[in-house]
């Protein structure tokens, strides 16, 4: 046994580059690892650890203050009994569908509108994109005032042209108007951002492809359906993933603009998680909800990636 030990070393020396080069490569790899160390620490401490911790927490009764106790699977079975949770799931799904359809249509429309170089296009792109420079929480507060009956011009304007009469409370009057207000806010804030991404997708399509279609006598609609949409698939898949993920995680807009009301009609899933943790002070069941949400989002992302990969081949 002891005789065998030197053998691999001698073997390695014979097949690998001369020792000096090998040790230089080793040194270089250590230096590289040293530069990557801060990243590894940050990711390990503030991403991997909380990811494992949230799963661990979901298996415990975990009060805000005091000792956690093991209680599997109570936090998970409790999700089914949580009435607000149930309605929040449906509301979040409804919101995600409505938001994704409208935001996608508007962003694609804007991208098509400003895709060609002509006079004033730079101004239009900036105008559509500018809301992105305002923070989302600030934008929600902006709309709170804009839609308010006290100082907002919207109700006055609609009254002036006779569309509404009397007092209208857009953000808290009815579930429908509260949802509508939020949808308009998100469209305003994010349409330009998504337009920009779709614009890079549109501009990556070679002009020759369009030329060829024109020579073949394709109509505008045919060109759009047969060339633009298929060649935009990777971009479209990416944009849809971001829209769906963003909508499922909606919080700021409901917390600030509608406060989840009226009568919890606009309470999203993340609002329920917040409520479980910091109002009902039950971090364990908040963690269980987080884990379920996390699983759903990972599935959504993996499915999207799969579709994206298959179609781009």
């Amino acid at each position: 046994m002891t005789m065998q030990r030197p053998a691999p070393a001698a073997d390695a020396a014979a097949t690998t580059p001369p020792p000096r080069r090998a040790s230089r490569a080793r040194r270089r790899s250590l230096v590289g690892a040293a530069y990557a160390a801060p990243t590894a620490v940050m990711v390990g401490l503030f991403f991997v650890t909380p990811l494992l911790l949230v799963v661990w927490m979901s298996l415990h009764k975990w009060p805000l203050l005091g000792q956690p106790t093991f209680n599997v699977p109570d936090n998970y079975t409790g999700i089914g009994d949580n009435q607000l949770g149930g309605s929040a799931v449906w509301f979040t799904v409804k919101y995600t569908v409505i938001m994704t359809v409208l935001l996608f249509s508007l962003a694609l429309g804007l991208a098509l509108l400003v895709q060609n170089r002509r006079r004033g296009v730079g101004f239009l792109r900036t105008a559509f994109f500018l809301p992105m420079a305002v923070g989302f929480a600030s934008a929600s507060l902006l709309f709170l005032g804009l839609l308010s009956d006290e100082i907002g011009p919207v109700s006055d304007g609609l009254r002036a042209i006779g569309l509404v009469d009397g007092y209208v409370s857009w953000t808290s009057g009815s579930g429908t108007s509260a949802l509508g207000s939020t949808v308009v806010l998100v469209l305003w804030r994010f349409a330009g951002f998504n337009m920009l991404i779709m614009l890079t997708g549109l501009q990556a399509i070679p002009l020759e492809v369009y030329e060829a279609a024109r020579i073949d006598g394709a109509s505008r609609w045919q060109t759009f359906r047969r060339i633009t949409l298929p060649l935009m698939r990777p971009t479209i898949a990416l944009v849809l993933t971001m829209m769906i993920t963003g909508s499922i995680l909606a919080f700021d807009q409901f917390w600030i603009l509608t406060r989840g009301g009226p009568d919890n009609s606009t309470t999203s899933l993340v609002m329920v998680i917040y409520r479980e943790a910091f109002i009902r002070l039950d971090l364990g069941s908040a963690a269980a909800l987080s884990v379920v949400l996390l699983a759903v989002l990972v599935v959504v992302n993996v499915v999207q990636l799969g579709v994206l990969r298959r179609r781009s081949h």
């Binding site: 270089r28 790899s29 590289g32 690892a33 040293a34 530069y35 990557a36 801060p38 990243t39 940050m42 990711v43 401490l45 503030f46 991403f47 991997v48 650890t49 909380p50 990811l51 949230v54 927490m57 509108l113 101004f123 105008a127 559509f128 500018l130 809301p131 420079a133 305002v134 923070g135 929480a137 600030s138 507060l141 902006l142 709170l144 005032g145 804009l146 308010s148 100082i151 305003w188 349409a191 951002f193 920009l196 991404i197 990416l238 993933t241 971001m242 995680l249 700021d252 600030i256 998680i273 917040y274 943790a277 971090l283 908040a286 963690a287 987080s290 884990v291 949400l293 996390l294 989002l297």
Partner: protein, 266 residues
């Protein structure tokens, strides 16, 4: 036909531009409109009323933004250099895990981060918040910096090493100037994200004197019993938005280019 097309384009585009710009213009107008005309009374109430914002909230916001920008620049520069120029064990795994942060939305791990920061003695602290915000900036920043370093010609680096520079002085003297556009984009994004962040400070900060401006302004809406002071709120919106709009105006190019490349990282 062609002329109508041009006119139709102008009318559609113009109308849409007005719709998109209107809320911004209106908030500026609403913030200076007073009962009798125009003035700064709304700003006065924003900074003096009982639940308005205070200087220390603004200082908190700048502190968090500065720490986040600094942390993001340091970690992503070193990391980007490592991933762009070196091979080392665990390289691919670490890069993949960092990118996975994009797939795991932070709203789902904030509860755990809240507990974790408590263990580290960083609960309700601006440093803890900045560390968390730095981590959320990492996937985009690291990706951006890796690509920036990869785009620098190898000859530049090699000639520096022939002249006797070690890898760290090469990084400082030769590479940093070469990746400046990437650094500006990364810094800009980190500033805007941390300045405007709402959910993370809402969960990680408890005491009102630690609040950032965003949190304090939102608090004017939620803490106000009875009626909301909408005009002061709009003043708050303008106050929050002005630094972002100024940065955007000065750095539109790197902002837009950064968004485009950030979006296509998938």
């Amino acid at each position: 036909m062609k002329i109508w097309g041009k006119a139709g384009y102008g009318v559609t585009g113009g109308a849409l531009a007005i719709l998109f710009l209107f809320p911004l213009l209106w908030s500026g107008y609403a913030s200076v409109r007073t009962g009798s005309g125009f003035g700064l009374e709304n700003y006065d109430r924003l900074f003096t009323s009982d639940n308005g914002i205070r200087l220390h909230h603004v200082v908190n916001s700048f502190t968090v933004s500065a720490l986040t920008v600094g942390g993001t620049l340091i970690v992503s520069t070193l990391g980007g250099y490592a991933f762009g120029r070196f091979r080392f064990p665990g390289r691919d795994a670490l890069f993949l895990i960092t990118l996975a942060i994009l797939m795991v939305p932070y709203a789902t791990i904030l509860i755990a981060l809240y507990v974790l920061l408590g263990w580290l003695g960083l609960q309700d602290s601006l440093i803890g918040l900045s560390l968390v915000l730095t981590m959320f900036q990492l996937p985009f920043s690291l990706f951006m910096m890796r690509n920036s370093f990869e785009a620098v010609p190898r000859e530049l680096e090699e000639s520096a090493q022939v002249d006797g520079c070690n890898s760290f002085s090469t990084l400082l003297r030769i590479m940093l100037p070469a990746v400046r556009p990437g650094l500006i984009t990364v810094g800009l994004f980190a500033f805007l994200a941390s300045w405007n962040e709402f959910f993370a400070p809402l969960i990680l900060l408890n005491s009102t004197d630690k609040f950032t401006t965003t949190l304090a302004v939102v608090n004017m809406r939620t803490a106000g019993h009875g009626s909301i002071d909408y005009a002061a709120l709009e003043a708050g919106v303008v106050f929050m938005a002005v630094p972002c709009l100024l940065l955007f105006a000065f750095m539109q190019r790197s902002y837009v280019r950064g968004f485009a490349s950030g979006a296509l990282k998938g």
